[in-house]
Amino acid sequence: MSAGLPGDLVTSRVLATFLSVVSSRPAAEVVDLGPALGANIAFLGERIGCKIHVEDLYAELDRHAQQGTLDRFTELLAERFAGFDERIDAILCWDVFDYLAPAAAGVLAGRLVQALRPGGALLAFFGAGTLGERRYTRYVIEDESHFRCRVSNAACGRQQVLQNRDILRLFTGLDLFDSLLLKSGVREVLFRKPDPQ
């Protein structure tokens, strides 16, 4: 998968696995860290049959970047998702971690690990663009294994390019379920939260 040109149809190798985890769980609840895209809401709500919580961190990043308060973003993240503790079955992170400073990324990852139910899944993309790039990629789910990419302007540039070991360290507490480095340089990563049962 590449960040893609507007309208690019790209193949995901791990989306199908992610969706099968969601489908297998009764009354599943999914957190989407991207904007509310009508197509994704319809796909997840109507076809997969889950409840979706839209928590658009890209919009918050933009707002803080425009107000010059990005330094406060880390402490605000520490208070996010407090009501979700072990309540969420799956999380769509998209590539938001590329846009976070290391401290903020660490705090967010910790909150997300805490939000997941045992057996829950977390999908994230890394390295979908170049450092400092001020544009977001919107991932529109087309079907179980394809996205259509769209781009939009961003007030906040990409902050970091995480290596595999950094990604694993970030999500301490989750098991790596699948990780694919694509020709485009994008890494698709699927984690699962260990389930003692």
Binding site: A36, G38, I41, A42, E46, K51, H53, V54
Partner: protein
């Protein structure tokens, strides 16, 4: 045949409960609670609603803060903005619309004696102020 409909104009401010048996368009401000069980609520482009809303269908072109429950569909149009939780079997969010909250499109068993899902009476994440007397449309 044209269905009856009512409207709340731009300069009107209502604090309290709005209920009725015809379609309603809001271009002004409503705070509190809105119930149009068998009809369509349209929040126009100048409309500001801070309320729990239950209707057959809800169309948002303006701003809504509060939980929305529809027996058929919630439709957030371009430049429409919703902050709250949505329960409806169908939800459409247009490009350019803003939404923050949750969407639940799962089929639920209706409450006893009602065609409405139990979630109609769930609390808003940001409770609206509802101090006034009920207003019938």
């Amino acid at each position: 045949m044209r269905e009856d409909s009512a409207s709340i104009g731009k300069s009107i401010v209502i604090k309290g409960e709005v209920s009725g048996s015809e379609n309603l368009t809001i271009e002004g401000q409503v705070e509190g609670k809105i119930e149009l069980r068998d009809h369509i609520l349209t929040v126009g482009s100048t409309g500001h609603v801070q309320a729990h809303v239950a209707a057959k269908s809800i169309i948002v072109l303006g701003q809504v803060r509060g939980n929305l429950t529809a027996s058929e569909k919630v439709d957030i149009r371009e430049k429409g903005s919703v902050e709250g939780d949505i329960v409806a079997p169908r939800v459409a969010i247009a490009d350019g619309a803003e939404f923050r909250g949750s969407v639940d499109m799962r089929r639920k068993e209706p409450a006893a004696g009602s065609e409405w899902p139990v979630d109609v009476r769930t609390e808003a994440r940001t409770p609206a102020s509802a101090n006034g007397e009920p207003v019938s449309v």
